[in-house]
Each structure stands twice: as C-alpha cells, then as structure tokens.
Amino acid sequence: MKKVLALGMAVVMAASLTACGGGSGDTQTTAASSETTAAAAETTAAAAETTAAAADDTTAAAAETEADAASAGGTWKLGVIGPFTGGASAYGLAVRNGAELAVKEINEAGGINGYQVELNPQDDANVEQNSVNAYNTLKDWGMQMLVGSVTTAPCIAVAEETAIDNMFQMTPSASAEECIAHDNVFRICFSDPDQGTAAAIYMGEKGLATKIGIIYDSSSEYSSGIRESFVAEAANQGLEIVAEEAFTADSATDFSVQIDKMNEAGAELVFLPFYYQEASIVLKQASDKGYAPIFFGVDGMDGILTVDNFDTSLAEDVMLLTPFATTQESSKKFTADYVAAYGEDPNQFGADAYDVVYAIKKAAETAGITPDMSISDICEAMKSAMVEISVDGLTGSNITWDASGAPTKDPIVAKIVNGVYEIQ
C-alpha cells in the first residue's frame, strides 16, 4: 500500500518534472515563431544569407524572409543579471534601476537605430550557479546583449557561457581582471588592481601620510584584490604600511580589535578598501574610541552617506576614490531623474549601469546593427565598434575601451565636506 503510494508519487513527480521542462520547451517554440528569439534571429540571418547566395531563388522565398525579418526585428532585447535579493541586493537593485532609467530615456528618444529597447532583469542572489541559470533564462527569452553580471564571481561564470554563445556582454561593476578574460566581455568600472594602484599613487603624490594602516575583508575578492595592488604600489610611493588587519564577511560587525591595532601602530591614514556598510561601523567605532586618522576608501565607500541610522557627520573628511558623485555637474540630471523615479539618491552602481546602456547604444549606432541580426553577428560588430567609440558618461568623461574590454578613465578623488562630495 505504502509502496504503491510512494511509487505513484514518484511517477507523478517525475512526470511533472519532465512536463515542466517540456512545458517551457513549448513556450520557447511558440516564442520562436512569434517573437525575436535567438533561434529565430539566427535562422532569419541564415535564410538571408542563403537567398543572397542563390540570388535567382524564387521571389516567394525572399518575400518570406523579409516578412520574417520584419516580425523578428521589432525590438532590442537587453538582459540584466544581478543580485536583487540577498546580501548584495543593494548593488543589483541600483544597477536594475540605472539600466531601466537609461532604457526609458532611450526609448523616449526613439530607441537604438530606430528600434525600441526591451529590458529583462533577472535575479542571481550573488550565487554563480544562479547567475548562469539567469543567463539561460534570458537566452530563452531571446536576449541579444547582456548587461551584467553585477558581482564578480557570478560574472566570471556567466562570461564563460557568453563566450561560448558569442554574446555581447558588458558588466557595470564586476571588477576582477578575470571577468573580461574573453574578448566578448567589456567593463565600465575600474578593475580592482587599478583602484589599489591609483589610491597608493594619489597618497604618495599628495603626501597625505606616510604611516598607513589597512583594514580589509579577506573573504571578498574585491577587497583583497585592491589591497594587494595597493601594497605593491605603496612600496614604490614611499608609503610605510604599519598595520594590516583582516576581517571576513562573517565577522563584519565588530572592528574594535582592528581599530585598536591601527591606533597602537600609529597609522596616520587608514585605508578601507571595502563596502560602505562595514565602513560605517568602522567610522562609528573609531570615533567612539577617539581615534581620528584620515580614512581613505575606494569606490565601495560610495553610499556611506545613505546608510540607515548612521550619523553622517562621522563621515566628514573621509576621502574616497569614486567614479561618480551626485554633486558633479554632469550627473545633476541623472540624480534628479533617479530620485524622482526611485525615491533615493543614486550610487555609482546605478550610474555604471546607466553608462553601460548608453555605451551599448553608442557602439550599436557606430556599428549600425539591427535587431534582426544573429547574436554572434551583433557581438562581432559590437566588439569592433567598442574600441572606436568614446563615451562621456556619468562615471567619467571621454571613456574609451581597448580590445581587452577594459575602460580607460581617470578615477576621481572626493572628500566628504558638509555631507557632500567635494572633488579634489
């Protein structure tokens, strides 16, 4: 009796599982016939080639191909992958908002090359496997170009997949070098090593301090990557690193030990290469202990003024490397639009995503591509166009790219004075 029941359940579950697969398979087929899926676009392109090759083919076939192209080439399909849930959701949500804002503006202005843009954001919760799943979901949807992934490790995993499909990918914020190892992947943010080096050079050139203390998150590749290049460059700049203390994501709630070590070692400047939530705790605890060195952050520090229940006066005189400040003349309009749409100040992630969408627009216009082209053709055209364009964006003016996918732009150093960024 029980066995029969168990067996019955097993069969039902197995059937429902395969039915689920089959079900989504069916939707793909219908989507393929009615909308612009990858498959449809590819077939159309292939069909176009055939007709071109056999020019004396029947006109009926040619007409059919044109009809296909018209129905298939309606809109651009941009995918966004990022963490909208979980611990890193602040970054993913900002990217989603920034990209949405840009797409809205572009659509109102007539789209890219005359075609409207559709955006489909998918959650990956900052987990590599989920990010690949999200990518596959977007592929089923018919995505032609990808904005993402937002965080580093998922981006590396997804880049491996896009390289196989030869899909154009541009990440707003995944900063490790490995993210853009393939030539179809571009990036708009600084790389981790760039930031560490830039911070060390700035400190050395301005003579901010000679005794440097570092607190970093050893469980984050972002933080340890910046720290590593900072330490390497600090030696060349005559900076003396007097104390180095690590913490991990699991112990990121109390920094009193690290701060005491910095104080004992007499660090005049404390370098904080990690995100603003943790930084807000460091600033609070340092002020409680009456320790007031110069605090120097990197782009993850951006957002420190928006932390809930944080006394922003503690962030006075904090210096940070940032690609974006809401007070910059160039970002006034974006900031106002963002606040109007989402009710909060934008951070650099939103700005990065906004710039990515505009960079894609510019490259697509330079390349003169249309949505009825195959994904691979779009990617090839975008790859050659990306190295030609220069973009004046929110996160830098006159940004250019080389074939490796890395941007060339200058980091800005800002100092928080009276609750606003003052560009140094």
Binding site: V4, G21, T85, V127, E178
Partner: protein, 353 residues
C-alpha cells in the same frame, strides 16, 4: 522484504534515473529543451548525488550530519586543483576530470574518516555539532589559502599572493584565497552526471542490502542490541560515514567542473547548503533513496521554474516546502491520503468487477 522485492525496488530506482536521461536526450534532440533547463541538468544530478549520499548517513546510519557541504567543498577544491595542475601534463580534459573525480572522492572520504574516528565513538548528536563546525572551518581555511606553482615547485601561503614568492616568468597562481579557483574546464555533462548518480545509487543500494548494510541499520535501530551480538559499532559507523563523505566529494568535483569559477563562499558551501541537502533527504523520506533523488531534483528546479514570478519566487518556494512537509508527515494528511487511496482502490475494484 524478500530478495525479489528488493530487486524490483532497486530496478525501479535505476529505471527512473535512466528514464529521466532518455527523456531529456529525446527532448534535447528534438529541440524541446530550453537553455535554462539544459543549464540545470548538471546541478540536478549533483544535488541528487548529494541527497543520496547524505541519506546514507542520516537515514541508514541514523546520525545527523550538518557538514555535507564541507565535504562537497573539499572534493570541489581538490578536484579543480588537480584538473588545473595537470593542464600541461595530461592534455585530455576527460581524463583529467576522471582523475579529479577520484581524488575529490578520496580527499573527502579521508577527511570523513578522520572526523569520524573521534566523533563516531560518542553517543548522541555530537556528530551534528562537529560536522557543522567542520564545514565552516573548511570554508574559512580555503578562503585564506593561496597556492601557486613555478619552476621550483609549489608555493603555499595563508596571507596573500605576493607572499607566495613566485618566480615572475613561470609562476602561476592556482588557488587565490577568497577568489578561489578560476578557469576550470567545464567538463561536466549531463550524461556524466547521470552516470555518477547511477554509480552512487549502485554503491549505496548495494551497501544497504548487504551484510554490512544490515549491520549498519541494526546500529541505527538498537545500538545496545547490535553491540551485544558482536557488531563492531565504530567500524560500521565509520564505514558508512566516510562513504557518504566520499560521494559528497565526488558531487563537489562535478560542481567544480560545471562552472568556470569556484569560490568557497557561504552561498556555495555554507551551512545553509548543508541544511538544504538535509531538507532534500527529509522531504524525500529518511532511508528512501528514490525519494531523495526526486526531492532533490524537484526542489532544485523549482526556484528556477518559478522565475516568472520575480521577487515572489522565494516566497512561493518556502510555501511549497511547508506544504510538502505537511503532505509528507502530518498525521491528518497521511490519514487523508490513505482514505483517498482506499477510495481510489475501491473504485478500481468495482470497475473491474
């Protein structure tokens, strides 16, 4: 159960897995498979293997292990490390993957043995506590481990890559702390996953229905009685536990070769992952291997199939978990199920008559 019945039951389990493979192959060939589902196939196999192997510890041995993700992590890192190390020595990816599978299983098995030796001698829930700590320790250790290789051999560090002191020209960083291992070839395919799942089932089912398996179950059912008839309790406990760990290590290798990046983050190998595997086992039924496979596959696929619901999908997932638990084990639900079943049977009999 008679021998014949056991054979039929096992055949149904194997048959179910093979049928799943055939259905997927047919769907793939006829183009009915979405990219999302294709991407899910290897994780499905991996979680099924993990659930079956944990079921050996929890359902058959009757000990609670909360560190299964730790063994998986060990297997994943040792396997990926080997694959990347042998890149020049063994050019064939398939062979390297095979060697990695063996190494990953061996490393996880040895660690299972080492942990089991002191802990399995104890009575009560100590294994749960120790395995929980073990999983976290492994994760944190790997997060600070840096390994590089140059012409002089291997270099290890617990600090950073610069302190590895690698030769600049020939040096390659293999394990990079929190960034883990990147660039592992993606050798894991669905067919390999299914073969490994069948192998896992073969090992576990044969073990259960052997003399050893009966000894292990007798320890679960009554330790004192088992001891009184001369069963070496520690030996059988260790055996079951280390086999379970080795199989988890194998699943870890499969995981490492399905993505190009591997890092020991809490999301990948934290205790939440261990609990998730335990959820598969509990929902599938303790000691029920077939149930474990079905629960693992269903619960892995569910959040992805619910993507259309956007932000609500994890909420729905939680509700489905609760409903499944109630359906499986609430007395009222069981009563209701048997009433429905007997009615169905009664109806069927009448029709026949």
């Amino acid at each position: 159960m008679t021998k014949n019945k056991v054979r039929i039951q096992n055949a149904v389990t194997y048959g179910m897995v093979i049928l799943f493979w055939v259905v997927i192959q047919v769907m793939d060939k006829t183009g009915h498979l979405t990219s999302l589902f294709k991407g899910l196939l290897v994780p499905l196999c991996m979680y099924a293997i993990l659930a079956v192997s944990l079921n050996l510890t929890v359902g058959i041995l009757g000990e609670l292990s909360l560190g299964h993700a730790g063994f998986m992590c060990l297997g994943a890192f040792s396997g990926a490390f080997l694959t990347n190390c042998l890149e020049t020595a063994v050019p064939g990816v398939g062979l390297r993957f095979f060697l990695a599978l063996i190494l990953g299983a061996a490393v996880a098995g040895v660690f299972g043995l080492l942990i089991g030796i002191p802990v399995l001698r104890l009575k009560g829930d100590y294994l749960a506590i120790v395995t929980l700590a073990f999983g976290e320790i492994i994760k944190n250790l790997i997060n600070v481990l840096y390994v590089g290789r140059d012409a002089n051999g291997f270099h290890f560090s617990m600090k950073d890559t610069t302190s590895l002191g690698l030769d600049e020209e020939t040096g390659v960083i293999l394990v990079k702390g929190a960034q883990g291992i990147t660039g592992t070839p993606r050798a894991a395919t669905f067919t390999i996953g299914i073969l490994l799942l069948l192998l896992t089932l073969f090992i576990v089912l044969n073990l259960i229905h052997s003399r050893t398996g009966r000894a292990i179950m007798s320890i679960r059912d009554n330790r004192i009685a088992a001891e009184s008839i001369g069963i070496n309790i520690t030996k059988y406990k260790l055996m079951a536990f280390s086999i379970s760990a080795a199989l988890a290590g194998m699943a870890g290798v499969l995981y490492a070769h399905s993505l190009s990046t591997l890092k020991a983050s809490s999301d990948n190998f934290g205790y939440n992952k261990s609990i998730l595997i335990l959820v598969f086992v509990v929902l599938g039924g303790l000691g029920n291997m077939r149930g474990s496979i079905i629960a693992a596959m269903l619960l892995t696929a569910l959040p992805e199939l619910l993507r259309g619901l956007n932000d609500y999908r994890m909420l729905i997932y939680a509700i489905v978990l609760i409903v499944m638990t109630i359906f499986n084990s609430s007395p009222k639900a069981i009563e209701l199920r048997s009433v429905v079943m007997s009615k169905l049977r009664g109806g069927a009999k009448k029709e026949v008559a």
